[in-house]
Symmetry: C2
Subunit: 340 residues, 2 copies
C-alpha cells in the first residue's frame, strides 16, 4: 500500500512536470532578435489566429504550410547570388580538365576575373557556366562539390563562410513556426541540389522540403550500381510564376504563409494571398546598408519593385531590416535595445 | 487537501493509462491480414532491424523513406488502370461540349465502346484521351472531377467503388510503417493530381507524399484571383527509370523500402537496393484469379517479367497473393485461417 502510494507520488510529480513544461516553453518569448515592432506583432498575431482551436481562423496542423524564398530572404544575396559565386569557383577548380576554356567565353572571362567581359556574355553566358558546373555528374557528386566549396569558400566582404551569412531573425521564425506545427519549405530560384547540401544543417529544413530550380536527370544502372546523373538541360525554372507552379506540383496544398524579398517572389505571394481564410504574406526589405546591404527598386540582384508596391497596397508585412531586426547574422553580438 | 488528493488520483489514473496505452498498441499483432508466412516475416524482421537502436542496421527516423507503387500494389489495376476508366468516362461526360468527337478517333471509339477501334489508335490515341481529360482546367477543377467520378463510378466486375478496391494487407503495412516513424510515399505512373484526390482519404498519404506523372501547369492571375492551370503537355513520365528520377527530385533521399508489382517498378527497386545498409524490396505477385486477378509475364497491364526474375535471383520479397494475403479487400470478411 505504501509503495503504491509512493509510486503515485512519483507519477504525480512526473505528470505535473509534463503538464507544466509546455507552458514554460511557451512562456519564453519567441523571435528574440526581432524588435517589438509591427512585423513581429504581425507574425505572432497570425500564428495565434491559425493555431488557436477556438479561433475562426484555426488551421489544421497538416495544412500549416509555410514557404520561404532563400536568396535575400533566409541568407544574403550580395554582391551576387552565392550559388553563382560557387559556379565561378567551380569553373576555376575544373579548368585544368577544360584547356579550351582559356580561349572561349564565358569561361575565359571567369578565369581572368574579367567582370566586364563576363557581363557582356549575358544570360547565355550565365547558362553556359551553370550548365558546365551543375551538369554531367551524379547528384551525389554534385552534393559533395557544394559541401566542399561551402566548407572552404569565404564571403568577399565579411570573410565568413557563406553558411554563416544567414538571417538570425528568420532562423527564429522558422523555429517558432515549427514549434507551432507548421511545415517549413524553401521555394527558391536556386538549384534544388545546391540548397539541399546545406538547408537541413543551417535551417533545419530537410531535403524533401527544398523546392528549387531543377535540371533534367537520368537514371543509370550498371553492374548493380545505380546513380542519378545531372544533365545541363533545364527542367524547371523556379522563379516568378514558376514558384506557385512548383508549390502546387510538389506540395499539392496552398501555403498559408509565404515570405520573399523580391519581384521573383510576387506570384508565390499572390498565390498564397488568393487562398481562403487567414494568410500571411511577408517581404524582407533590404534597407540596412551598414549591417547588410541596402537595395530595392533598381537592384540587378533581388530587385524589389512591383512586389513592394503590391505589398504596401494590400497590407502585406514589409520587414524593414534596419528597424525590425536587432541582429542580422548569428555571428553578430546580441543587441539589447534598438531604436525603432 | 482532499481536493488535491483526488486530483492526484485522477492524474495517476490518466497517467497509468497513458503509460500503458502504447504497450497495449504495440502488443497487438501487426499485419493481421498477412498469413504467417515468409513475406510477413521479411517485413517485420526488416522493420525491427532498422528501428532497433541497438541494431547495426538502425536508421534514423528522418531517413526511413518508404515508397509504394499504386496501381497493382496498393489497389487493383484490372481490367484496366482505374485512371484510364476515369478518362473514358470523362470523354463521355464532356462529349456534349465536343460534338466533333462523334466522328474523330480515338474519341469516337470511346463514345461507341468500340474496344477494337480504340486499341487500334495505340499510344497516340491514349495520349489524346489523357490530354483531353486531364488538361485545360485548373488543378482544383480537376480534383473536383476526380472526386465526383470516384463517388459515382463502380467497378465493372465487383460493382464496388474503385476506392474500396484497395489491398487491406498493404493498408496494414502502411499503418505499421508509419507507427515505426517511416514516411510513406506513393511513386506511381498515375497522374499526381488524380492520386492526390483520394490518397489521403484511403491510404493516409498526404498530397506532398504523392509522386506521379505530371503535366506542365501554368500560373494564371487575374483581378486578385489566382489559379494553376493544367495543360496536356507531359512534364514527367513517372514510370520505369522515371521513378528513381522523381524520387531523387522530390524527396532527395534514397528510400530504404520500395514496393511494386510490375516491370515499371524495377528501376525504383534497383535504386533502393543499391543504397548502403539494410534495404527492403518487395513485389506483389498477382496469383489469385479467384479473389483478384492472376497475371504476370504476359500481361499488357502490370506486366511482371524482368522484375520477377531479378527479385528471385536477388532474394527480394515476392508476395504470392494467394498464400500471403488472408484478405484482399477491406470489404471481404476476415478469414481466420488460410492454408499456406
Amino acid at each position: 500500500m505504501n509503495s503504491v502510494k509512493s509510486q503515485r507520488q512519483v507519477f504525480s510529480v512526473a505528470l505535473l512536470f509534463g503538464l507544466l513544461l509546455p507552458l514554460m516553453v511557451q512562456a519564453s518569448e519567441p523571435l528574440p532578435s526581432w524588435s517589438d515592432g509591427p512585423a513581429k506583432k504581425d507574425i505572432i498575431a497570425f500564428v495565434h489566429a491559425v493555431t488557436d482551436q477556438t479561433s475562426k481562423d484555426f488551421v489544421k496542423p497538416a495544412e500549416r504550410i509555410a514557404v520561404f524564398d532563400n536568396d535575400g530572404t533566409l541568407w544574403s544575396e550580395q554582391p551576387a547570388y552565392f550559388e553563382l559565386l560557387f559556379a565561378f569557383d567551380e569553373v576555376k577548380r575544373t579548368a585544368p580538365q577544360h584547356p579550351e576554356w582559356k580561349t572561349i567565353q564565358p569561361f575565359k572571362a571567369v578565369l581572368e576575373n574579367d567582370h566586364k567581359a563576363l557581363a557582356a556574355t549575358g544570360m547565355d553566358g550565365l547558362l553556359k557556366i551553370v550548365g558546365a558546373t551543375h551538369g554531367g555528374m551524379t547528384t551525389e557528386a554534385f552534393d559533395d562539390y557544394v559541401k566542399t566549396w561551402l566548407s572552404q569558400a569565404r564571403h568577399p566582404k565579411t570573410g565568413k563562410p557563406y553558411t554563416d551569412m544567414i538571417f538570425q531573425p528568420m532562423l527564429e521564425m522558422l523555429d517558432y513556426l515549427r514549434s507551432q506545427d507548421f511545415k517549413t519549405y524553401i521555394v527558391s530560384g536556386g538549384d534544388t541540389g545546391f540548397m539541399r547540401a546545406f538547408a537541413e544543417k543551417i535551417y533545419g529544413i530537410p531535403p524533401e522540403q527544398v523546392i528549387g530550380t531543377t535540371f533534367v536527370t537520368e537514371f543509370e544502372y550498371k553492374d548493380g550500381k545505380a546513380s542519378i546523373v545531372r544533365t545541363s538541360k533545364l527542367a524547371h525554372n523556379d522563379d516568378g510564376p514558376g514558384k506557385p507552379v512548383s508549390i502546387d506540383a510538389v506540395i499539392g496544398r496552398r501555403p498559408i504563409l509565404a515570405f520573399g524579398n523580391s519581384d521573383g517572389d510576387l506570384q508565390m505571394l499572390q498565390w498564397t494571398a488568393a487562398g481562403g481564410g487567414k494568410r500571411f504574406m511577408g517581404l524582407v526589405h533590404h534597407t540596412d546598408g551598414k549591417r547588410e546591404w541596402a537595395y530595392d527598386r533598381d537592384s540587378k540582384i533581388g530587385r524589389l519593385d512591383k512586389a513592394l508596391d503590391e505589398a504596401k497596397s494590400r497590407g502585406w508585412t514589409v520587414v524593414d531590416m534596419t528597424s525590425a531586426w536587432r541582429r542580422i547574422y548569428p555571428f553578430e553580438p546580441v543587441v539589447k535595445e534598438q531604436m525603432q
